[in-house]
């Protein structure tokens, strides 16, 4: 199963500069594990110690924010496009 992942500039240091990578997984959690096995440091940039997505990382499936789906357990299907963006936030 192929999932296309759009990687933002700030995370491309983990993907040798690639702006799009492909991965596998039945849900976001599995996809991140798969990506992490090939792209060093990527998993730690996305997943917190408690196993959930970092609070200030936005993950989208086909442009839908996974916070409004099932978070890191959001299921994936062949051909889905996953986008990742660090939040732009401050005080």
């Amino acid at each position: 199963m192929a999932i296309e992942v759009r990687v933002p500039t700030v995370l491309r240091k983990h993907t040798d500069g690639e702006r799009r990578v492909s991965g596998d997984g039945g849900d976001i959690r599995d996809l991140i594990s798969d990506l992490g096995s090939r792209h060093n440091g990527l998993r730690g940039a996305l997943v917190a110690d408690d196993g959930n997505l970092h609070r200030f990382i936005n993950v989208y499936v086909n442009d839908e924010d996974v916070r409004f789906l099932k978070g890191i357990d959001t299921p994936l299907s062949d051909g889905d496009v996953v986008s990742i963006l660090p939040a732009v936030a401050g005080g």
């Binding site: 759009r6 933002p8 500039t9 700030v10 702006r19 200030f56 936005n58 989208y60 442009d63 924010d65 916070r67 986008s83 963006l85 660090p86 939040a87 732009v88 936030a89 401050g90 005080g91």
Partner: protein, 148 residues
Amino acid sequence: MPAQSNHEFHLDAVTHDALIAHARSDFPYEVCGLLAGSGGRLVKHYRIPNAARSMTFYNMDPKALLDAMNEMDDNDWDLLGIYHSHTHTEAYPSSTDVKLAFYRDAVYLIVSLQDDQQPVVRAYNIVDGQITERSVVVDGEQTVTAPR
């Protein structure tokens, strides 16, 4: 508009005034947005809704953020600037701004409305917790020069 340099941030007056107008538009809440560029020159100004709609915090609406970032990526534009307003404090990064500065290649602009009669736009690089101010240059003229 000349290309950006390492210690200045160039804005055209129209964009500079648009940032201030945006900041005023939702006073006393903080507003936020992005500036996209190509070759260091500004090509698009995005007003992004503040999902937090707070006087002390901003968090760009994730969907609007994605749409803007995708458009930049598709056009090979760079994220030149990230701006937000401080409605009651000076145009200097707060501790939260520093902690959440994930975009190390972007310039962080802060629009302060602390003095309503004299709004101020200042620019910073925020990398690994280090704040470095850039001079804001509007249509070739420096506005704020002295680093803090």
